[in-house]
Symmetry: C2
Amino acid sequence: MKKFEEKTYETETIYKGKIVQLDIDSVTLPDGNTSKRELIRHPGAVAVIAITEEGKLVCVEQYRKPMEKSIIEIPAGKLEPGEEPKTCALRELEEETGYTSDDLEFITSFYTSPGFADEIVHLYFTDQIKPMEEQPDGDEDEFVEQIELTVEEAEALEKEERIHDAKTAYAILYMKLRNAR
Amino acid sequence: MKKFEEKTYETETIYKGKIVQLDIDSVTLPDGNTSKRELIRHPGAVAVIAITEEGKLVCVEQYRKPMEKSIIEIPAGKLEPGEEPKTCALRELEEETGYTSDDLEFITSFYTSPGFADEIVHLYFTDQIKPMEEQPDGDEDEFVEQIELTVEEAEALEKEERIHDAKTAYAILYMKLRNAR
């Protein structure tokens, strides 16, 4: 769907980094006027809603520099170039939590900030996880701590803003809905 | 919580735009090594889950430049400097849909991309809406079309990726959970 399309007549790349690229597109609006759009280019990401045998949500706590605080999130990570989302989801689950799974089910995908960024999150679900025999290495500049939460614990942490991101808020509703069935 | 804190020893501002600012922070990691963090600064946003008397979700379709497609989302918008989130939520609901409400309830807030951006979305709910007598003006470079969806219609559109963003995916689960009660 291209309703209200904004046609680009010029792109200026301001910055190309390790994670994001910043472009400024000059566009023609549907009414013929022009405007500028600030666009963050991102390789995309995956996240996993993993539920233990006891019905707990597997999470990791990590420091998030943009907010200068550590928050508790479901396992997630960036896609490597050419990587299949499902392969990436399994890799991130293993690296961040030490669990593995033969049964990752795709739920949905969503853009996180459609107004200014093209970051997409591919979301997977599993309630079939087992501890790995040997814990794989994660990224060398990533420090995470694992934590497993009942839905009540997760909701309490969300009220305290220690769970404070979109994909984990989504995961909590997903769990509640699953428990309600 | 500052677990695994990354201390900044230098900040370089690469770009300051209308919507985003890009900073590169040089940081000291918990193990004493150093790294760089690419950080998108954003003023924050609001979104509204508004339900009509018939139980439909009020949405708007608009072109989203980062993905080069138009998607259907719940009403949302950026905070103006100093603006209260609730005031902003009511303003965006009125501007984008022509509905108003005396009864906006705060649900939760979440960061959209905690790995690289500080954009936060403050989310409100209302099932008490009424059409405004006079439609207010929206942003001059914003073109939106209103659409009202049953939860089944919304889910079908999500499968087709015409609903394709985090806050609207959250809104669909929120509606389903509310209907399940």
